[in-house]
Symmetry: C2
Subunit: 125 residues, 2 copies
């Protein structure tokens, strides 16, 4: 049992896991947007993330409020087209978040794997 | 813009991100427990995860309800000692979750990095 006098205070608090980003659906939205600087239409995003209209609207509003994505409304042909894009700030914050996520994965590695990692570097399966 | 006929349905839905585990505080609790099969005392866990008594109790109850951790109450010297341990099931489910988390990180890698990964393997850092 970990009974040493004082363990590392907050060692596993993961303050960098921004709750706006960490929520599962928003994590999916940001991941899909990250590789597509040109943006994704609202309807494609719904499909990619398996979200309903209402759910996607809600999550996009939260991300927009936080400055992580921007939304533009236009038309394609005669039909309205809403496009969601990740902002420069969103990209930067999401990368910080991903760094923290990698830390979680490293922390969760069992000791032998960690030692192997120290010796020869680790690559995910 | 991603305008192909039909994008991968649910490609970024990440169904494997179990909400019981994904919540930030519980993610920290499970990560700290994973490397310590012998368990961690309630007080040490509070420190490690920067949680209050009430918060930790609540999250441990949720994890216990889901069968992911077990709690034993005993004494050390004359003082009561509560120890939290991850269960075998908890360990298995957390590893599944971590696999999904690694997928998120891979998905979020920019294309050039992905190609480099295909060629020579990728290591976080």
């Amino acid at each position: 049992m970990a009974t040493s006098k004082k363990p590392n205070q907050g060692r596993y608090a993961y303050e960098g896991l921004d709750r706006v980003i960490h929520e599962k659906a928003r994590l999916g939205i940001l991941t899909s947007l990250l590789a597509r600087v040109e943006g994704i239409s609202f309807n494609d995003l719904k499909d990619l993330c398996s979200l309903t209209d209402g759910n996607l609207s809600g999550h996009v509003a939260i991300l927009q409020e936080a400055g992580l994505v921007e939304v533009s409304k236009g038309t394609r042909g005669n039909r309205p087209l809403t496009v969601v894009r990740i902002t420069t700030e969103g990209r930067a914050k999401f990368r910080e978040y991903l760094d923290q996520l990698e830390q979680v994965i490293r922390d969760a590695m069992p000791e032998p794997a960690k030692q192997a990692n120290d010796r020869k570097g680790w690559s995910p399966a």
